[in-house]
Symmetry: C2
Subunit: 156 residues, 2 copies
Amino acid sequence: MLDEPGNVAEAATTTDDRLDPDFMEDYVLYMMALASHHMSAEFHAIVRAEGLRVPEWRILATLASYEPQSVTQLCEKTLYDQPRLTKTLHKMEAADLVTRRQQAHDRRVVHATLTPRGRAVVQDLIALARDHEIRALSALSSAERRQLKRLLRKLI
Amino acid sequence: MLDEPGNVAEAATTTDDRLDPDFMEDYVLYMMALASHHMSAEFHAIVRAEGLRVPEWRILATLASYEPQSVTQLCEKTLYDQPRLTKTLHKMEAADLVTRRQQAHDRRVVHATLTPRGRAVVQDLIALARDHEIRALSALSSAERRQLKRLLRKLI
DNA sequence: GACTATTACATGAAAAAGAATATAATCAAG
DNA sequence: CTTGATTATATTCTTTTTCATGTAATAGTC
């Protein structure tokens, strides 16, 4: 595709004909995504340095707070869809991070719990997450941090 | 994997041994991701109803504000990595949404611009995005909306 | 209690994303 | 200019994700 002679710009004929120059600057969904991404990206590097993928970390962290959880419940908390959860949990079981147990009272349901190894891993990461959170929010005063949490809760 | 008789929970022996019950409730990165997801999910449904994928919408919206952009610049704005941008732009060119032009002053660089069709599509979607944003933020007062934007800008 | 509907999870094929690397153009130094 | 380093984009190969569908268990209805 690089050899398209007809498609080479000949000169800087660019007049500023941007369609909607202000849209992105002020679009809250984009600002949220940006802020969320910037804060998360740093921590995700830490997660991968620990040998986990991000979805695995999210599942572990969710279990640390809400264990035990069915696949469906984990979908709701982690925001991942069901096939993805099922497959990731299978891999995590193989990696000795979680245990899956079919429930006797309703045998369609499978609960996931942390293994000892899963617990150890997530406990480490939660400590790192708390450290990182403090750094990530250091641009804000403590009043602003409270404000931010309050606003986010209202939006959820 | 369903037929694992040794792995069926016999009774509700669950004592509450959650590892860190409060972590998720108060972890700002998770709250941001949740809020961002909840707000975006509704709009992403609109995007797909228009026949676009979310990354395509983000690229179009970015071009609407910052056109023309090189691949590298689009990576920075959209938060996607370079191979992904390259591939998505190729598909979008095939779909007559953008034009790619190698730059004469530096032939390594490829600029993307909106086609007339791309402009029409993104213009529609920006209108829908603005409508949706108003609804998505309706839980907040206008003072709170300003606060939120201010805080997000500080975090970016 | 058989019959249909619904729920919960699993799976398979196709598409997309990610990591590593390749190519091509420019730059910088001598 | 020629060589080596750097930059911008493309491509390849592998892994993940997605979409649609399958299967098994339970719930509801007549």
